[in-house]
Symmetry: C2
Subunit: 120 residues, 2 copies
DNA sequence: TTCATATGCTACCTCCTGGTTGCATTATAA
DNA sequence: TTATAATGCAACCAGGAGGTAGCATATGAA
């Protein structure tokens, strides 16, 4: 046993906001998925075949990406005839925006405190 | 050759904003890294050992996470004596916020157009 | 009915990621 | 000088992610 490799026992009181938003960021963290979201943000629901044309990857890969997005609620599907139409779901995107704002606010607050301490 | 498995040839004109922000979202898409960011947002720079205590993982794992964050510019390190202090870098977080806002704006715009078309 | 289209499902492959251990290196402190 | 603390570095491992191919199923149209 060596140089400080053993981790601490106690877990910090987990911030549920951050825990919930990590999967959303992970889903957003892929260029192909961001393109799919951008396409669906154009407004109208699109089928898998439509979303595949305009990509370099196969229909099956697109389906997987859509499922990843659906798992975190960024996207939703409706079955219409033999097609499966996908549409954007903005709720979870708002969740992600709130998380980033919380971080930014904490940072600004820390800077403000630091400035106060320096000027005191 | 089978049932619509062949992808299209032409690539869509790639939105550079989305391409650039995907790695940032990917870096944010891990609970451990979000916790590290939250810790560093408290204001003062922290050493690897400090960031490790309060986690269930090893110092080496924390180092890897910090490197992932540094690769996308979310965090920066300064060497001080035998310590290596890490601090938050808000610039790239703003980039991520802008990306989410662009998506949200496109979505709102599409909804508005849809509403206009319906009422016409 | 019969064919073509849109999709579902499964197996498979490769590479990356998160994590670990072990040992070397650097720098502070006694 | 000599421990000791903080970190760097490399090898290693298991599992998941992104991607593909092949075949089955369902539905619309002729």
């Amino acid at each position: 046993m060596g140089a400080g490799n053993a981790p601490s026992k106690k877990a910090a009181p987990t911030n549920s906001l951050l825990r919930n938003s990590a999967p959303i960021f992970a889903a957003l963290g892929d260029e192909t998925r961001l393109r799919l979201i951008a396409a669906l943000c154009a407004g109208r629901a699109m089928s898998i075949a439509q979303l595949t044309s305009g990509t370099e990857i196969t229909r099956q890969a697109v389906t997987k990406h859509l499922c990843v997005l659906a798992d975190v609620g960024l996207v939703r599907d409706i079955k219409v005839g033999r097609e499966r139409l996908w549409e954007f779901e903005p709720t979870q995107l708002e969740e992600a925006r709130r998380s980033l704002e919380v971080i930014a606010r904490q940072w600004d607050h820390a800077l403000h405190k630091l400035k106060m301490a320096v000027e005191r």
